[in-house]
Subunit: 98 residues, 2 copies
């Protein structure tokens, strides 16, 4: 469940990360690679991968505290569930943020 939360944060805010941060978090959250696998892939230590992920988690949380884009996304999803006749339209509104 915690990782689902970070996948949502990643989905919205990853364009604000650096290329390296985005690549490592992508391998971890979306490709489900282990720290050891990412370390091997990137030719760095397991510790540095772990540090990078912790730093990114913190940054993504800070962006959400300031911009609430995941909160808006989730509110739109709830609206679409409440009014199925508008689901497609609100999905498009949500997607206009990508």
């Amino acid at each position: 469940m915690e990782d689902l939360h970070f996948m949502r944060l990643w989905d919205r805010y990853s364009p604000l990360l650096t290329d390296t941060q985005r690549e490592i978090t992508n391998l971890y959250f979306n490709f489900d690679l282990s720290l050891a696998e990412i370390a091997e892939e990137k030719g760095c230590s397991r510790q540095s991968v772990s540090d990078c992920l912790n730093k990114c988690r913190k940054q993504l949380e800070e962006y959400e505290e300031k911009l609430h884009l995941v909160a808006i996304t989730e509110a739109l999803e709830a609206f679409g569930e409440k009014y199925p006749e508008h689901r497609q339209e609100v999905e498009q509104i949500s997607e206009s943020g990508k």
Copy 2:
């Protein structure tokens, strides 16, 4: 019209600016002070105020290119105008981003 655009960007992304950047852009966009007035208020040169505003404009534009939060806000407004019976709900969704 251009300033309206930046006020919208400011409204969404100003939490990502530094304190000084936020203060100067707030005086300019929201309190409608001139460069000279802001320079006097802050005890700095008119040129440095101008540089700060240009840098902030660019940063705010870059955030919108990456996150599209103003685009989502405007799409929600259009939805609320199309379906007045849902206007209040979509306004609340939009406000959850502040």
